[in-house]
Symmetry: D2
Subunit: 421 residues, 4 copies
Amino acid sequence: MPLSVAENSEKISIDRDTENLFLHVRNQTEILSNGLSAEDQCVQATAYTSPTKWHLAHTTWFFETFILKPELKHYEEFNPDFNFLFNSYYEQIGERHARDMRGLLTRPSIDEVYAYRSHINKSMLTYLHRGLDDGKLGLLDLGINHEQQHQELILTDIKYTLSCNPINPIYNAAEPWEASPNHEREWMRFDGGLTQIGADGKTFAFDCESPRHKTWLEPYKLASHPVTNLDYMEFIRDGGYQKPELWLSDGWSECCNSNWKAPLYWEQKGDEWVLFTLSGLRPINLNTPVCHISYFEADAYARWAGCRLPTEAEWENAAQTCQISGNFLESCAYHPLPSTKIGLNQMFGDVWEWTASPFIPYHGFKIAKGAVGEYNGKFMSGQMVLRGGSCATPQSHIRPTYRNFFYPPDRWQFSGLRLAK
Amino acid sequence: MPLSVAENSEKISIDRDTENLFLHVRNQTEILSNGLSAEDQCVQATAYTSPTKWHLAHTTWFFETFILKPELKHYEEFNPDFNFLFNSYYEQIGERHARDMRGLLTRPSIDEVYAYRSHINKSMLTYLHRGLDDGKLGLLDLGINHEQQHQELILTDIKYTLSCNPINPIYNAAEPWEASPNHEREWMRFDGGLTQIGADGKTFAFDCESPRHKTWLEPYKLASHPVTNLDYMEFIRDGGYQKPELWLSDGWSECCNSNWKAPLYWEQKGDEWVLFTLSGLRPINLNTPVCHISYFEADAYARWAGCRLPTEAEWENAAQTCQISGNFLESCAYHPLPSTKIGLNQMFGDVWEWTASPFIPYHGFKIAKGAVGEYNGKFMSGQMVLRGGSCATPQSHIRPTYRNFFYPPDRWQFSGLRLAK
Amino acid sequence: MPLSVAENSEKISIDRDTENLFLHVRNQTEILSNGLSAEDQCVQATAYTSPTKWHLAHTTWFFETFILKPELKHYEEFNPDFNFLFNSYYEQIGERHARDMRGLLTRPSIDEVYAYRSHINKSMLTYLHRGLDDGKLGLLDLGINHEQQHQELILTDIKYTLSCNPINPIYNAAEPWEASPNHEREWMRFDGGLTQIGADGKTFAFDCESPRHKTWLEPYKLASHPVTNLDYMEFIRDGGYQKPELWLSDGWSECCNSNWKAPLYWEQKGDEWVLFTLSGLRPINLNTPVCHISYFEADAYARWAGCRLPTEAEWENAAQTCQISGNFLESCAYHPLPSTKIGLNQMFGDVWEWTASPFIPYHGFKIAKGAVGEYNGKFMSGQMVLRGGSCATPQSHIRPTYRNFFYPPDRWQFSGLRLAK
Amino acid sequence: MPLSVAENSEKISIDRDTENLFLHVRNQTEILSNGLSAEDQCVQATAYTSPTKWHLAHTTWFFETFILKPELKHYEEFNPDFNFLFNSYYEQIGERHARDMRGLLTRPSIDEVYAYRSHINKSMLTYLHRGLDDGKLGLLDLGINHEQQHQELILTDIKYTLSCNPINPIYNAAEPWEASPNHEREWMRFDGGLTQIGADGKTFAFDCESPRHKTWLEPYKLASHPVTNLDYMEFIRDGGYQKPELWLSDGWSECCNSNWKAPLYWEQKGDEWVLFTLSGLRPINLNTPVCHISYFEADAYARWAGCRLPTEAEWENAAQTCQISGNFLESCAYHPLPSTKIGLNQMFGDVWEWTASPFIPYHGFKIAKGAVGEYNGKFMSGQMVLRGGSCATPQSHIRPTYRNFFYPPDRWQFSGLRLAK
């Protein structure tokens, strides 16, 4: 939620670009579901993933609930059951369907959900054409960014779902990986000092990125690119998964209880490791960033390497000068690619980078009034910040101040790490 | 498994009736899936139910595994993955897909499963036309009866699945229930003595129904028809679900832990009870047999009524003179109907009747050699016998010696009770 | 509960023997706790075992609740809290302390519990000296037999508790085991026919042993003595714990989930097996009956051996002619001993023998009125009958009609098996 | 672990004060166990508490393992089993007894554990009299401080244990609480700026308190004293436990799942709340700091009050000028007392104050070599920092830089909160 949006209520007309952005994002979501059958889009493999169909409907419900119902005169609700079925976690909106039962919603059908999307799109265009209050621009931006977040989740969730099928289904076909040269890790030095991080409110940012505030940084170094599969394999070969002294205590419990031996989606076939990807089972490309590791694994790897994870302030301070380009959702690889540059690179795209920072409020953070206040603020305990976006993040969605967050044991996102000293 | 089938290996030609029966049963299964979408047929609501698609494939796998692969020369396997995916519990056939993960098999698609069914049907006709060894007739009968069992499960499982959807989907539309007169319970008297129960091997029966053997019965009485919703409501109103002294100890724990207040699928709307049925949410018909109760509830009800459950020997002894007619799968009601006769009636169809008998081997029971030996024998602990078939049982599938079995807390079958003294 | 006790209410005077029996049994219980520290007697290792102190108090509560409070005029309750603390499972007596929290009752202290015992003993003597109603004799017998049951549980529960201590504490010191000759198994033949089993009500028996009733038995054979450790080791060596085809389905799940490799208390030290016993860790005596096995293991062993378990009717029919002598609690071995006789032997004592019979009511069984009706009847589901008593059973407590019962996976009793054909 | 201790190895002689401190602390621990029976000291109520006996032994094992075995020539181990039994979580020391099984160690007896303590005390005196390497002084300090931490745990763990007993046992008798005036909350203002926090290494501090480092603070205010029971009751009356919008998402789940309605140890008797304390069940003293609340409750309360929790840097910055005096272990109240001063007070003692800061390493934190490195560092995930000590903390153990840490749902410590803005 942008904090800078003025509270006056003059109608402002939405320009063509905003409308196009809205339609583009809505369309992009549907493109992601194109290759999937109704069955693929319906099931739920575990409580923390959601069916594609649910994502398609929930992002639509968001516009209906936070914009159309309160703002569009004479708006007619598409289906009154949907408020119960497709509310994710907004307590202030009312009762909702249990999160771990989303996969049992064989009805409404995928066709009905598409009709729902279409209905909402049309109503949104009506709403946008009427012009909207300046104060509501933030909600439109929020809805668009919210949908982009779910685009990434559609990919990570369907990947998890398909991985549970012993026949290793393919989401999108891909070329074999070409050999690529291994780039040596360089150490990039930063001076630190009394710096500023956080969103300044001039462009859209989530509430949790605000306010921009001072923080003290000691001098530090960052690795030029993320840890690669090649790097990580040495950790495995050196017994990294068998040495409690490398792990946080909770991490070691998780490692033992979940019987971790490698990142998620790695499978040992004889002497070799193969990977389950959105293009099915594939051999490992050694020079791509390691991916689908938990915070606990990232932390253990860093300790093993005699380094540490960067804090989010260190990361953001370094990222402020980087260009936002790289391997995003739009490149349709849906998998990280090797580093091909020298100097600080791959800060954006490819893999989310676990930081050493718990997801807590910035000094001066204020929760927004009403149900949208539940967007980020209530998750500020027990999770760690990841930075930089991944191969499943839309390019226009990411920025240096962006704070993603997941629980320390979570592995189903495209999550990797970059070393710091 | 019939024990009487001679072991000589002269080829015998299958008559038209057998072939027709095979095709009829195979077709009947598909009819049951007709009204369901690909999504409906894919998901799994709980570990003990299976997706429709899985039932369609598993029954097909049964013919492929136990007949076509060992018996049909040059038979070409449809898809080698299917042996892993669609084996239910046959340890001797090899590793299999985890039971509680069946709902994640979005692939193969429902169309592929239909193609599998078609491939197997054609191969089975080839096999049947060649004539078959006398000793293999039993396997054909077993496969047909196996598929009929899964027809019932398709209905009970999809009912459970749809019931998990808050919008109460309808499987098949139904007329409103007409009022019907309430029949008074009469007590039918039986002399007992040294009687015989069990299958004599002259017609098909499952292995667990054999051998026919002597058992001593004291004189006993059976109620003329099953306990009705009207009867059961009095138990509820009298606090039956709040009085531990009416319950078995394990039943009381289950009742408290699962927060039972009424049979499965009963829902209180204000002062009234409604039922979830395969025709959606409906008011209660008071004169139909109570249904979807566990053994624990059946036992508690009987104790409350000052009666008891019949033993399976008592039930079978009484049933030997009854005609097999009534409300079965074929009537497409998919719900029990009221008693309309006097004298001993509704012994077959409408609801399975919980007996007081644990499912244990008859004296002299022998487990068949090979994997089909796992069909029934290994389940002979912890389960209770039910008798008589239900509104979801194919009529040709049931007989007086038939022993169905479920765990004492199970409620998702069409299970009711008949009182005894 | 004896069903034959006349309901007239003339006071009858209790003879010296009855009083002595009461005092003897009460004293015997305390002797069992003598070697244990206050700490040993306080803790609870798992929900299904109870602390010694709790047994000492609960058996006392039984006399207070069922005899002294209702029958002894001017009886003064020892401590009103105790009715809550020491009620085991009698719903009709009121709320009670959670079963799995018994080990947290550090107060009352063991000394207070001894004072409680003493108070109740004195009051009971007062009560007995006044003479008692004929109809109450059954309650006295019940209380005495109840306490004897808990004597066995004191031993089996403390054995389990001490086994959880890595330093292998010793309950009572024992001599090294002498070598003994291995007796060959003989097969004893019985004719069966229309026989009678069950208690006839002339002497004390629990309610579940009644009524005596007819049952039909086909001819059968029993092994002369229980399966020995030597026999059982062959089963282990032959991979018995790795072959699902030998197991009931629920048994195989339990075996896998609990990672069973041998009976409870067996530990592999290098190439050898040792046993944890009430005399600490000891080498295995090959000729003693195998012990601390579940029903599932007994059943799998019997299947492996090409035999089966006897039914309880077969066992009782055979036992009716045997003398009740052998290795009981009184011999203070607290461990089974080798067979030293030929012919049918060790039917009583040494190890409880799992039968093939679920614990269900005999035809005509009636639950007693009031809370004592909860003694056995409400446990009649999901458990299997064991017969014959063990090395931890008081000799005067056992009889041919005695029905003990435990769940199929239970292993902490002195439970073994005898083969049948 | 102090980082400042010089690494030269000249023997230095320990002065009388150090020896006295050692003996005083060792003796203090035993005093805490005086009023408890052997039974009280043996049991374990939940996995996260430990028996008193275990604390007595484990603190002793610490000196034996980290000082006597490596440092004292000819030291003879008291009992080789104890290294397995009384290691808490030091992976590098080897295998250890399962944490949740500590309550089953009825042997060694409490007397043996006291003998162990005595043996170690004697050996430690021998060691201290010989003089010790300068580099080992830190280990001695660590052992002493470690034992002081366990003194607090002895009190909080026995409180939890006794609370599980329905008869509400008393640990130490106490006078009735006198009425005391309610102090109004004042707001104390702090300027912030570029400040320093953390231990400077001149006196003993745990490793996690180091290094002293710069941090930027915006201006902030702290409440003059902690939130009281009176304050907290308003939150309860206002429906604080029923309003999800006040809670962190994980906190709300915990609140619902654990059915929280009030702080731990509060019990509603009719219209009134009573408290379980170490002096048994008592009425609530309204002016004492609220206590036994989780981080989630502290956070929800602060949000309800329109304030927030202080960060640990804010707290430490404010505490640097406060005198360390107040209600500690030594006052033997074992319960918080009302504020009696004006201005910033009760920063030390009474209740630990939850801060908004996750327990993570300070910039530049180094884990010590060897097993003592496991002391704090491996717990740096998922826990929150608490500051200031409590009524169960020894006075000499606390300091402004002290960082205590527990999981957000933990409630069995004497934990409260102070508001910030």
